[in-house]
């Protein structure tokens, strides 16, 4: 909490700079308009104009917030009211099915992210267990896992989408595949580190009790790896989200936040791009914080955070 004032100050400064930059970046358009209209702009008029343009080069925070509210809250309320008299479940599905609603796009992105994340993590843990217990796997596979972190894997995204579409898989699955392998590698690296974290005294102690490899795994290695797993999960969930969004940028007809950004880009409606981007950022923040919360709770119960 002692960080509250510094963080607040920095955040306020960032917002102030944002508004200032909005003036700087949007001023050309305002001046052009004024020249064509044949009038002069005072400074206050310039500021007012740059902050309320329809297709600004840099929308202001309030413009973005208004757009977000328009495409989530207002759109939902409109659909809800329009389907007056219909049963509850139908009204909900109408709200969620609204093609213009940011919530629907967010759900499409989120579902791909979570599906991919769960699979990537599961497979990653299994591979890590294999690597730690089998020397041949450790020698042959681990170097590739480490190297893969330096390879721009995201560059494979368009190809994966195209190939999977060609064999008939479209929509959720290709995006989930990209999300899965983006979270896979950090989880493998983190879990291997975690499963190997018990020190020699702990392992010797286990030897004096003649414990089997399986007993050592379940009673010592797995619990010890929990802090490392959570660190990787935070990286993995953020990477999964980026993967899903980049997938949507490639083929946008399946919807999603990335598709919305691409739409905004195509039509030049910059506020929509920003709205989708901020929403995606908010989603990333929520995802990472949720994992962080789960981490704090688990670590507290396991005694890692006294």
């Amino acid at each position: 909490m002692r960080n509250f004032f510094p963080i607040l100050t920095v955040t306020l400064v960032i917002f102030a700079l944002w508004y200032a930059f909005a003036v700087v970046l949007n001023k050309n358009w305002a001046y052009d308009k004024a020249t064509r209209g044949g009038y002069e702009l005072s400074f206050t008029e310039l500021v007012a104009d740059t902050w309320t343009q329809k297709k600004p080069r840099l929308p202001t925070p309030d413009q973005v917030a208004a757009e977000i509210w328009k495409s989530t809250g207002t759109a939902a309320i409109k659909k809800w009211n329009r389907s007056e008299g219909k049963p509850f479940s139908e009204r909900i599905s109408k709200v969620l099915g609204d093609k213009k609603s940011l919530l629907r796009h967010a759900w499409l992105t989120l579902s791909a992210t979570l599906l991919g994340f769960v699979f990537g993590t599961g497979l990653g843990i299994l591979l890590a267990v294999g690597i730690v217990h089998n020397k041949a796997m450790d020698n042959s596979v681990m170097p590739w896992v480490i190297t893969s972190q330096t390879i721009p894997i995201l560059a494979l995204a368009p190809m994966i989408i195209v190939v999977l579409n060609a064999v008939g898989l479209s929509g959720l699955i290709p995006k989930a595949v990209i999300s899965a392998y983006l979270s896979f590698f950090p989880v493998v690296v983190g879990m291997v580190k975690g499963l190997r974290s018990p020190d020699s005294i702990q392992l010797d102690q286990m030897r004096t009790w003649f414990a089997s490899k399986s007993q050592i795994f379940w009673k010592l290695r797995l619990p010890s790896s929990v802090p490392y797993l959570f660190t990787s999960l935070k990286i993995g969930v953020a990477a999964s989200l980026v993967g899903a969004i980049v997938g949507e940028l490639t083929i946008s007809q399946d919807g999603g936040l990335g598709a919305r950004m691409l739409q905004g880009n195509y039509y030049g409606t910059t506020i929509i791009i920003w709205a989708a981007l901020i929403f995606a950022a908010a989603m990333a923040a929520v995802l990472v914080s949720s994992v962080g919360l789960a981490e704090r709770i688990t670590k507290k119960r396991m005694g890692f955070l006294a």
Binding site: I201, Q202, D204, Q205, M206, R207, T208, W209, F210, A211, Q215, K219, L220, P223, R301, M302, G303, F304, A306
Partner: protein
Amino acid sequence: MQSDIVIKAEKLCLTFETNDGPVHALKDVDLTINKGEFVSFIGPSGCGKTTFLRVLADLETPTGGSVCVNGMTPREARRKRAYGFVFQAAGLYPWRTIGGNIKLPLEIMGISKAEQKKQVEEVLALVDLKGFENKFPWQLSGGMQQRASIARALAFHADILLMDEPFGALDEIVRDHLNEQLLQLWAKTNKTIGFVTHSIPEAVYLSTKIVVMSPRPGRVTEVIESTLPKERPLDIRETPEFLELAHRVREGLRAGHGDDA
């Protein structure tokens, strides 16, 4: 009186191959330990005292000579869980309660849940930690954690207790207290104890037999039988007999490693 021989080492050797040439961690160690003895191993770094203890525990493999524990090879002794080992660090799992930590070896050995509960209560009482079953390690002080670690080593009723500088990380006042408790424990349970230490007063206070070792190569320089009685209040450390023994140990150490500081 012929006591049972619990540990017998004959011409025991352990040589490590390193980049700088072979290191003789142990060379021609001959030693006999009888049932119920409290044997301290003392010497400077590299003298082989910890290595010897680890050989007994089958945590290291000798390269020459022979050693037997309870009449078996160390590997068989380990398989039969013939000894409890206490390390320098308590090494308790933070995600288990004290009770849970003590149950750990019992779970591994497949002991029934009812029996586990009984052992835990018994052994916590022995180390004076009654009532701490449901506390977590980080709620205990360093000394208490080490006591819990000793309790864990006693939980499965092995005859032998091997301790590698268990009190080294604790301050002197706590150490004194624990030394006293350890002697009381020993009197109550009659275990055979092998104890590695750096501290001369600790070695003399605790043991019936002191093994002085020296490095390069690691070997036994002297074996001193203690003349102190079995009952030892803490202030025995000021008696002339005690100081005499401590002096003998110090001389043995000095003879052992010549003139390197």
